[in-house]
Symmetry: C2
Subunit: 324 residues, 2 copies
């Protein structure tokens, strides 16, 4: 099933179930008023939400028309936003462009950072340019929403904690990254609010494209109408979401509603393009000694969509415009 | 006023107002069911909470007896936990012990890290030793709970966003710190769940001890009954909470309920003792070439309390035991 959050003036919005066609929604407040509450009570709420989803498919008169602009992020605020870096190609490329080696344990020790989660952007909410020297970039990613995860959960048991799949734009100010990396305390000012796609879907909604704790689909990023990247999300995701859960749960527990990201989806084949501009700049630097692609500027439009083999996008599209 | 959260089996517990003597509590659910809800609606809820606090002081028959063991953290889960490092002496000491210089911008560019916040420990909840090689340590700190903070908020306007003051034990696995610092993505496995003191108090509850965005009191840490540190919290807090807010809000907004920590309280005068064991080990290393103090072990008891000039502790005490 597909879930979404309708903006209603409250901090958490109102939970709705969305038809597979993405054109209709049904209020789910009789089951759970908010997505967080549904996650808090998943064992009790799931069946009721599934019943609403079934009725949307069988009764064309049920529900209301859906306008994506009325939606907030599925979780407008979340208790944790943890982002991994599960695609080694991204790390290798960016390091190579600055003449550095990738970390020796790149394939055995996941990179993860803890992001801010009290303000998460709606799929159509603008991104703020800020100081142009900050180098605004997008990062197209897949994210999962977790149920409760006990401390010490191992990868083999972790997949059952994955409740929902979403897409994300992990907005980054590239110009602020290196100083924060050098401080060692992690990204902070370099990571403004992250945006999420409109629909949070149960893994079964992806069919055979959900396997081994990974999504096997295409993540397409379009900048001002031109495809920047059309990347395969499955084969090069070195650490599965289950692996990432084992890593983050080594010394602490997580409560339901934790959002966990894949990091920028990145493919070794250059013809696949990029899911963030810093990778294109890295390729340019490796080939020509310097980047020619500029970071985002005012009025730029970024669209991110996760597509199946038929060109359908179960998680909906992120469509954001850059404002000053 | 003093607020606390009663464990009632729910994820957020039930909000109570606590008498100044710390011995009685009154249910606040008629005003707001949880502390998060009170923070979400502070302009509407504050007066009602104050009225309950006043009645607790004037009517000795009002409320129920309070047992600290029945309390959760004031926010058992929070939307953000951001921890600063506002006491330069801590950074200088730890770096000096390993023969390193402090960062050149130590006094102009605050160090902050984003911590996990979906599971926060009650004041009397045990701490897990884990692998003894992980080097379990406590870190006694002051923390504030914020209202909504707009992106770009400057220090001069930031103090009005500070709603509540608490104490914290930012539990740390020292043995996992250096590898994570080297990765640059920030602390993760090195920081298990943080514990908070029982009472979250409005700044006015501290009287003249709250000024310039700082608390001017003593933070006493006691390990197995022996005082480890009795540190002054005010004079050496180089960055005020308002300064820290300006730093974290440079590129994004924060929603009500964000918890912001001071970092380990640390004084240059050695006779003040320490608010974490790694500092004592640093002093031993500087004096004798190697540390002699061990990290925490099973059954160790740590007590942390913020004391005023009369020896009263408005935020209550953290009292935790180390378990395997």
């Amino acid at each position: 099933m597909r879930l979404a959050t309708l903006r209603d003036g409250s901090r958490d919005g109102a939970l709705v179930v969305v038809a597979k066609a993405g054109d209709r929604r049904a209020s789910a407040v009789s089951v759970a008023p908010t997505l967080q509450r549904a996650l808090d009570t998943w064992e009790r709420s799931r069946d009721g939400l599934e019943a609403l989803a079934t009725r949307l498919e069988t009764d064309a008169a049920f529900g209301e028309p859906l306008d994506v602009k009325e939606l907030a992020a599925p979780l407008p605020r979340a208790y944790e936003w943890v982002d991994g870096s599960a695609y080694p190609n991204h790390v290798r490329l960016v390091r190579k462009a600055r003449g550095a080696e990738p970390p020796a344990d790149l394939l055995t020790n996941p990179l993860v950072y803890q992001g801010g989660s009290s303000v998460l952007l709606a799929p159509t909410e603008p991104i703020t340019l800020g100081d142009p020297a900050w180098g605004l970039d997008f990062e197209a990613e897949i994210a999962v929403v977790l149920g409760d995860v006990a401390r010490g959960t191992r990868a083999a048991a972790a997949e059952r904690a994955i409740r929902l799949v979403m897409i994300a734009n992990d907005v980054t100010y590239r110009g602020l990254v290196s100083a924060e990396l050098a401080k060692g305390f992690g990204f902070f000012q370099a990571k403004p609010a992250t945006a999420f796609g409109p629909f949070a879907v149960t893994p079964d909604e992806l069919g055979a494209a959900w396997r081994d704790g990974r999504v096997f689909m295409r993540l397409r990023s379009t900048l001002n109408g031109a495809v920047a990247g059309d990347t395969e999300t499955g084969p090069e995701m070195h650490f599965s979401f289950a692996d990432l859960i084992e890593h983050i749960a080594r010394t602490r527990a997580f409560a339901a509603g934790t959002v966990l990201g894949s990091g920028t989806v990145s493919n070794a084949a250059p013809e696949r393009g990029v899911s963030c501009l810093v990778e294109r700049r890295a390729l340019e630097t490796i080939a020509h000694g310097a980047p020619t692609t500029a970071y985002l500027k005012k009025n730029d439009r970024i669209r991110i969509e996760l597509l199946d083999e038929h060109g359908d996008g179960p998680c909906g599209a992120i469509e954001q415009t850059v404002i000053e």
